[in-house]
Symmetry: C2
Subunit: 143 residues, 2 copies
DNA sequence: ATCTAAATTGGAATGATTCCGAAATGAAAA
DNA sequence: TTTTCATTTCGGAATCATTCCAATTTAGAT
């Protein structure tokens, strides 16, 4: 289940997307920092080390492209930069209120706060569940 | 369980917060538009109608104050304005990908997409579960 | 080697939100 | 009622992540 650079590069080809030095550097940054759920800034800084020329605009465009093509998953927050996850499997994000770190808690497993604390040492103070999709009205209309 | 203006005003007093025309207008806007999960802009516009003088800065400051004091709940999104909910009971937010409307789906009730669709007409395409709290490291440190 | 659509660039624009110092004002005390 | 002062309000500037743009470069197919 662990995704590697080659997998992502392969997906790029499948989708007919071009392989550029910038994209390779970004893929590298994504995979090497997978456990930190990196944001655009971190990826930008890491990518710069590998490819001499990368702009922030490109990083944003590329992360968007990758997300839309299902290579990675974008985690959107309000007070935090967006964060990116190369792990597409079902899991819960445990987000620290103080340091902002995001840990993964894989399911199936108990979602009881007590069990989560015992297994991961993470104390839950707030739960947020959103279901995204289409409401009755929007389903009626063409779109 | 339906919260009224008087309840919110009472809470203001309990917390030692001052009752101002601006705050009354904002409370009014929050309660009267509860089902729309209004954002700062809508509240601003509605509040203007009731109180001759209200600034956007005040609306933001007030919504923040109210949220911090538990009068209302702030729903944070990335692509959307923050939205506010006067209903603090446990429920799931059903967010339309197209029009952005947010409906409440009260729990306990099945979270199976099929059941949700049958009961609310809402088709789920994506589920997002976040648990916020404190990670192991941050719990160790004073703060 | 040529060609073209796709990718990259930097800088400007956006939009929600916060920050600031100054002015106004609830409401408690005198 | 008047005084007092911490709280609230104000408008405008600042912030910050992100998107947009028009111009330039380039990957990869022919």
């Amino acid at each position: 289940m662990k995704k590697k650079k080659e997998d992502l590069i392969g997906q790029l080809k499948e989708k007919g997307l071009k392989i550029t030095p910038q994209r390779l550097a970004i893929i590298n940054a994504l995979v090497e920092n997978r456990y930190e759920h990196p944001g655009a800034t971190l990826i930008f800084n890491e990518a710069r080390k590998k490819a001499k020329r990368v702009s922030l605009s490109t990083v944003y465009a590329t992360l968007k492209e990758f997300s839309e093509n299902g290579l990675i998953r974008q985690l959107e927050f309000d007070r935090m930069e967006n964060r990116y996850d190369v792990d597409l499997s079902d899991h819960v994000n445990l987000i620290c209120n103080r340091c902002g770190k995001i840990a993964d808690y894989s399911i199936p497993a108990s979602l009881e706060p007590r069990d989560i604390a015992r297994k991961s040492g993470f104390v839950v103070t707030d739960t947020r569940l959103e279901l995204h999709g289409y409401c009755r009205n929007c389903l009626k209309r063409p779109g």
